[in-house]
Amino acid sequence: MGGKLFRNFSFFSATLSFFILVGIFAILFHYAQESMHTFGFDFLWTEQWEPGEDDEGGIFGGYIPIVGTLLSTIIAMVIATPLAMGIAIFLTEIASVTVAKPVSIAIELLAAIPSIIYGMWGLFYFAPVVQSIFGGNGVGLLTAGIVLAIMIVPFMAAITRDSMNTTPSVLKESAYAMGATKFEVIKDVIMPYSKGGIIGSIILALGRALGETMAVAFLIGSVMHTVGKVTDPTTSIPVLLANNFAEAEDLEMSSMYFLALILFVVSFIIISSAKFYFLGRKVK
């Protein structure tokens, strides 16, 4: 009797994540209707974000925040990927245990720091550095991209390290036994062996960068401005939502839901493809 109840409760709990996901999609889709009907696909490449007189109508397009999200993510990935690979290689193949252990913990702590802290530190300490090197006024696409990179590096490095660690040591030894250098063993044995996990970690980090709000909110400038230079301030979907969602009304509000839906769907696709193609095979 108790067994049946227990089983049913566990089944219900398990299906809950399905209902939440469907619920998120349905709600966003529902509230985005007005904007979808008014603007259609043009929403994606319309640069204006202009409320009408007395909050009636207006023109809203997602181009600027969409491009801002993509560009800041690309900058972050370009910087973070080689750094994270380097750290993972250092931890698994270079450092002795006595060094690797504390460094590993430090990297994991870095991953645990809340993103708002990265944002604040970035605004007061890192933005001036970027400004003095690249010009601009400190906040902007580049600063946001770099701090985003700093934020996702530890996460990516930790997963990459874990999958590189699964390479059996005899396999490495037999490559060394043929006269390979350390780099050749990494390139020809470890990387191919742990390829799935490494690509998976890159894609998961990509998903994280796309949806990151707070680190970017402090740093991207938060203005509806099309970027010309890499140091220009602009905005991203999460940042626009964070700053303006609560005050928006009617069509503007609906356009915000539309943007949230776009972000949700894009990250859904990225993360499920990561799971499906690269990480899914390992599920026991």
Partner: protein, 263 residues
């Protein structure tokens, strides 16, 4: 046995693992004769693998181990080198090309059959496609798997059977034309038929390369080897011609071990 047909020689060799208080190998003196098969036997934990792994210094992948004594390698040009003196990465690479190693479990790399065999050759700087193809074919023929693999050289090596993989690993090592090949229980993970094939293969390659093989299988040692070293608790308890060891050992301990009274 005369000095000039030796390929390696261990003199007063001791080895201590990082962090260990006692040495795992104590003052080992062991000659390895050229183009002969030397078997190492002894109970589990006596130091066979430790000794084998000293001979191409694969131990050096992990920091903190310490060596004493000498391990001389006699090169084809007649020169002699104590491999314990090596320091530079370049010298290690050369040593490992001269002294190859086969492990207990087959270790195919995650790449095609062809690339597996060509791997060491490419590392050694051979780029010319036709030369590579020629040497890969020769190595695969030498390891008696050419007929099974010639149609599928481009396929992943991970799809082969365990026995085939092990022969592939031997082909891969032989392709580099090493002076010595070290085998650490190469058949203990294989079925009897694959084991037979590997033994046959080892007997064949000894005309080109000197072999040191660790085994727990007494029949294998007596069938295959010319010399046998019996190790016990980190000491070389007895070393002699294989017939001598198996028919008329000097030590009581050796006799007890090979007749299965302990171990």
């Amino acid at each position: 046995m005369t000095k000039n047909n030796l390929v390696m020689e261990l003199k007063n060799f001791s080895f201590t693992y990082a962090g260990a208080t006692k040495p795992s190998l104590k003052k080992i003196n062991l000659p390895i004769e050229e183009n002969k098969i030397t078997a190492m036997i002894g109970p589990s934990g006596c130091g066979k693998s430790t000794l084998l792994r000293s001979m191409n210094r694969i131990h050096d992948l992990y920091p903190g181990n310490s060596y004493e004594g000498k391990i001389n390698l006699y090169r084809a040009d007649g020169s002699k080198q104590n491999i314990l003196d090596l320091k530079k990465e370049n010298d290690f690479i050369r040593l490992r090309q001269e002294v190859g190693m086969i492990f207990q479990k087959p270790t195919p790399f995650p790449m095609s059959i062809f690339d597996n065999v060509a791997y060491g050759l490419r590392l050694a700087g051979i780029k010319n496609r036709s030369e590579l193809e020629g040497r890969v074919e020769k190595a695969l023929k030498g390891a008696a798997i050419w007929d099974e693999t010639k149609e599928r050289l481009g396929e992943s090596a991970l799809g082969m059977s365990g026995g085939q993989q092990q022969r592939l690993c031997i082909a891969r090592a032989v392709a580099l034309k090493p002076r010595v090949l070290l085998f650490d229980e190469p058949t203990s993970a294989l079925d009897p038929i694959s084991t037979g094939a590997i033994e046959e293969l080892i007997a064949e390659i000894k005309s080109e390369v000197s072999v040191v093989i660790v085994t727990h299988n007494m029949q294998q040692a007596s069938r295959l080897s010319d010399y046998t070293a019996f190790m016990y608790l980190g000491d070389l308890a007895e070393f002699d011609k294989t017939e001598k060891i198996f028919l008329n050992p000097k030590e009581k301990l050796t006799e007890d071990y090979i007749t299965g009274r302990f171990g």
